[in-house]
């Protein structure tokens, strides 16, 4: 039986080899309980380092044009990459 672990990395620009500036982990195996504020240093230096460690990229944020009049507005982190690992668990 397999369960999914999810790693979300936020990087400094749209390149997967740019530095990680934010991160989250969600563990579908239930073996760990990651939560907000639990780690002050990123688990990987870049997104490519996560690939090298076996994480599979499953989604990347799109690059969208800036709407006229909204060019300077800032909201959410822009460069978001979702990775997964499938982990065997005992039924």
């Amino acid at each position: 039986m397999q369960r999914q672990k999810i790693l979300v990395l936020y990087t400094a620009n749209s390149a997967l080899d740019s530095p990680v500036i934010g991160w989250s982990v969600y563990d579908g195996t239930g073996q760990t309980r990651p939560m907000a504020g639990d780690q002050d240093e990123p688990p990987y230096r870049t997104g490519v380092d996560a690939l090298k460690d076996g994480w599979r990229l499953i989604q990347a944020a799109q690059l969208l044009p800036h709407g006229r009049g909204e060019e300077f507005d800032l909201a959410y982190l822009k460069y978001e990459f979702f990775f997964e690992q499938l982990v065997e668990v005992q039924p």
């Binding site: 740019s18 934010g22 639990d38």
Partner: protein, 314 residues
């Protein structure tokens, strides 16, 4: 005239750039003790008893008044109470005046208590940190509210502490829509001595840390607004005599060494989490906030706004 200890230009620039002002151990011990005494005892954990029930009973018993939103701050607390004394401390009143101006308005307050594992085990709930969020709702103003976070007892890292991300206050987000972000480079945790205050811009991203110690953690928050009926609102309310006239822009990009400390240097200092492109937009937004607070629509730092405001084609 005021004799309050107002914030100087450098402190204001730090607040504009990073969204917080931390004052460690400024509340006298006697006042911390009075506050905790007025808050009352927190009931011990009882097996099977929901934590929300314990919390609700604690709020009902605590010596915190119910206060109508929108009244003057100086009418919110009964004279002689710990909270009245807190907002009247010169260091607090001076910071309030500097950040939100004269006759500020009380918005709301809340007694935040974070419970240790024994309470969660007794109630059957999960002991987790609070999702990162921005308080209230989407706020498109340049004007801002200030939240005072008061730590009446020492906070250790094990107790969690308020987590916040310096420099996030100028982003327009919708409350806990950003709850997906667990960790952001440069995040800070409020580990502090008793009597510490954290003044935050209302937009800063923050959340309560998980308490893994063996005692409850208490923090009291007061949100205050600038008064729109005041003649000067929050503009030029800090010690403007400390502003250094800006005769010309600094050299940019090609510089042969570190530049001396200045308001510009503070406003142009990035946070560890800044994205490489939007970090520059953060600079622009800081400059705009500085223009507002100094009432100087021509102010610029490192040419960022001058360049995009040059309408040569017109």
């Amino acid at each position: 005239m005021t004799h309050l200890p107002l914030l100087n230009a450098q402190q204001m620039a730090q607040f504009v750039a990073r969204g917080f002002l931390r004052l460690d151990g400024v509340v006298p011990e006697a006042l911390n003790a009075q506050f905790l005494q007025e808050m009352g005892e927190i009931a011990p954990p009882v097996p099977g008893r929901g934590l929300m029930r314990t919390y609700g009973e604690m709020l009902a018993k605590a010596g915190v008044p119910e206060v109508a939103a929108g009244i003057p701050l100086d009418q919110a607390y009964e004279d002689g109470s710990a909270l009245a004394k807190l907002v009247q401390l010169p260091v607090v009143a001076g910071a309030i005046r500097s950040l939100v101006g004269e006759d500020p308005i009380f918005d709301h307050h809340f007694l935040h208590v974070t419970f240790p594992p024994a309470y969660h085990e007794a109630s059957g709930g999960e002991n987790v940190s609070q999702h990162t969020h921005q308080d209230s709702t989407i706020d498109p103003r340049t004007a801002f509210d200030v939240q005072i976070m008061y730590y009446p007892h020492a906070v250790t890292r094990e107790m969690g502490g308020t987590r916040f991300v310096p420099g996030t206050h100028l982003r327009r987000v919708s409350e806990v829509a950003l709850g997906r972000y667990q960790n952001i480079r440069g995040q800070q945790h409020m580990v502090c001595e008793a009597g510490t205050l954290l003044f935050i811009h209302s937009g800063i991203w923050h959340g309560g840390g998980v308490n893994l110690s063996d005692r409850t953690r208490t923090m009291f928050k007061i949100r205050i607004n600038p008064n729109p009926r005041s003649s000067r609102t929050q503009v030029r309310q800090f010690d403007v005599s400390t502003l250094v006239p800006q005769n010309q822009q600094r050299p940019i990009f090609y510089v042969k060494g570190p530049l001396p400390p200045s308001v510009e240097q503070t406003l142009m200092t990035p946070e560890p989490w800044f994205e490489q492109d939007t970090g520059r937009l953060e600079f622009l937004n800081r400059i705009r906030l500085w223009r507002y607070l100094t009432d100087d629509p021509t102010y610029d730092a490192d040419y960022w706004l001058t360049r995009v405001e040059n309408l040569a084609e017109v």
